[in-house]
Amino acid sequence: MRACLPFFLISFVLGACAKRGCEGPPLELESLRNLKTQGISAPGPRSYLVLPNPIDATSNPAATVSDSKTLESGNIFNLTNLLVPNRLDNAFLKVRVRTINDALSSLAAPNNAGDFNFQPQDIRYSQTMAYRSLSTIQAYVEGLGFSVVKSRPLFVMVQAEGSTSQDVNAFYDHAYLNPSAPRTIKLYGSSSFAPGVDQDMYWHEFGHLFNESITGERGIDFAGDNGAIWTEGSALHECLADYLSESASDKDYIGKWIARNIGGFRPGDPLRWASDRNGRPLDFAAVARADGTGAKPERYEVAEWCTRVLWDIRQSFIEDYGSDGPTISDRFVFSAASLLGRDSGIAQFRDALLSANEDLHCGGYGEVINDAFEKRGFVKPEALAGPLAVTGTAVTVRVNGTSIQPTPPAPGVSVVFSVRIQNPFPSVARNVRMKLSSSSPLLITKIYQQGLGDLEAGRTINVGSLGGLPSTFSVLGEIDSRATPGSAIPYTLTIMTENGPDAVVRGEVRL
């Protein structure tokens, strides 16, 4: 028996070594788990908050801000890292109501006991919710091993200027083009179901800042930032923001509270589901194929499809790691996202997941990842035998707000394109995009790229002509005010698809 001992020890050591490198860098799992539910464990002024919102906190689809059950379902949380104990600001995060320039005297202040305790219908409650939600989610992602870009402050307006009781909305602005502008989250809406009382809203909007942070501010949807209506990058942005909120709050949906403001949703219906309904996987073709009207593809539909893929992957981490599965899944998903480049698409994200899987989990989840995509119809399509059939001409227009009127070519005039794109092949053309470039500095490319979706076999899509998509779906340039009469300004339109060669249309605008 004694002879066995060395073998046993050697074998045990060898067995342990065989796993090394397959579990990623170490994580403080218990503290991360607690962080998501209890918040940052540190001293600070107290607040009483109903998390994440009255509907989810009470499991009552009809809950309101003033129900007794809503008020009973709150808990006490500490507000940590405040710069000064009487204002909801820290070195990075600045909470406001309407604008960045709100008078400080109009903002939430603690009571005599030093606590930030307000009724949920009080706007100061929303400010407190904003601070607690955002500081918590920031601590969580930093605990996963990511940095959050803090080169500029983040201002949060919980009921931004222009809010009404009819409309709700939320905006995140990374302000890529202005190095002195802060990052901003603006929530709009002052109804009985105001977005400012809902943690989901803050976690989702923070997700956009987090996406830009982990991707090194490369602009995974830079075309969208510059005005494109549809891009796969925009869907990825929403998908990852939804996933962060859903996974960190351990819910397979987002937005039950905000949906109360939107027609067509019954009380208790969420805005989007991360899990399949009625056991039927949502098919990629149903959300990604161009319908010719501009209604599809739509960023939130594709984002919802994408979160369902990620929820499957998350589930497999739960099977393997139990209650730590969600945390390890979050680290994995956002590590993959950190590999994305400018104007990324779904295929690049799948590849990034496979790559991160090799790095963090020794390839152990490759089958899970591929299955999650494939069972929802995202498979590698057949290669097209050639480029798409494309014709296109430049049209000079004056754009004034939403009005686009044709006008003769002149300095300062905008250029859109009337384009016909046909897929003459027997398989789908994946992720069709239109890109504008010019060899002349006299054509300023404003909306340099637009996505058009997947183009079915034999299908044609028209942009900027009668019966087709309006010119707002076109790429857009502007003739430099320095252009002189007689100038010939060349342009190149490139029509790209992921499974075929580019089609190129060249032309010029003559003044």
Binding site: F7, I10, F12, L14, G15, R20, G24, P25, L27, E28, E30, S31, G145, F146, S151, N169, F171, D173, L177, N178, P179, A181, K186, I214, T215, E217, R218, D221, G224, D225, N226, G227, S234, Y300, S316, D320, Y321, G322, S338, G341, A356, D359, H361, C362, G364, Y365, G366, E367, V368, N400, G401, T402, G412, P441, I444, K446, Y448, E478, I479, S481
Partner: protein, 218 residues
């Protein structure tokens, strides 16, 4: 016989170790920076066979990822084509896969928007990839900002200014320009649509060169 027994027993022990280890409870790590980290383990074996045990190579002692990237850039500055009138400012973006160190380009105090360089430093502290978005552009004179434009316009709309203009140099990414355009970054409002944008406008005549907007929900 005895040898076969030991080999078999060792094999059983080895497989046993593999079998038992994943059942160990997840371990918490010490907060002490000096403590040796112990990785958590999955509750069952990974779904795919391990690709062998990675060899143990201690991280190169290059200090922080920014230090490693700085050393790389210093060594390869000529090959990267960085001009003498440009200075580089690093920012680190950390992830569990490593760090991306992104360099913004400056001419003196002015940011040169549109040029950048990104160095990827892996978990072992080595430079693993370089993404070079830098290209040579002429040096701009300070006089370019001396007579600023009166209006910022896209040719149709004269925008309402909502922030103080910031002087910078702009290199359009989809243009062959070899010159950095002296410009202003400014927050503007379109009075027709009431939309707020961040825009880049040419310093000399206020011509809009780029415009962006926020990411909105439906």
């Amino acid at each position: 016989m005895k040898r076969t027994f030991f080999v078999s027993f060792a094999l059983v022990c080895f497989l046993g170790a593999l079998w038992l280890k994943p059942d160990a409870p997840a371990l918490e790590l010490s907060r002490e920076p000096s403590a040796q980290p112990t990785a958590h383990e999955p509750k069952r074996a990974p779904r795919k066979a391990d690709r062998g045990s990675p060899s143990f190579v201690p991280p190169a002692d290059l200090g922080s990822p920014v230090a490693a990237a700085n050393a790389y850039v210093t060594l390869h500055r000529d090959a990267l084509g960085i001009q003498s009138h440009h200075q580089l400012k690093p920012e680190e973006y950390r992830s569990p896969l490593g760090s991306a160190v992104k360099y913004s380009v400056y001419q003196g105090k002015h940011l040169v928007m549109g040029l950048q360089l990104e160095i990827f430093v892996n978990k072992k502290g080595s430079v693993s990839r370089v993404s070079n978005g830098y290209r040579p552009v002429e040096e701009a004179g300070e006089e370019a900002w001396e007579a600023p434009a009166k209006n910022f316009t896209d040719g149709v709309t004269v925008f309402e200014t909502e922030s103080a203009p910031v002087a910078l140099l702009f290199v359009p990414e989809n243009s062959p320009a070899s010159k950095a355009e002296p410009a202003y970054a400014v927050q503007v409002k379109n009075k027709t649509t009431q939309e707020t944008h961040q825009g880049i406008f040419r310093a000399s005549d206020g011509q809009m060169l780029a415009l962006s907007k926020g990411r909105g929900e439906p």
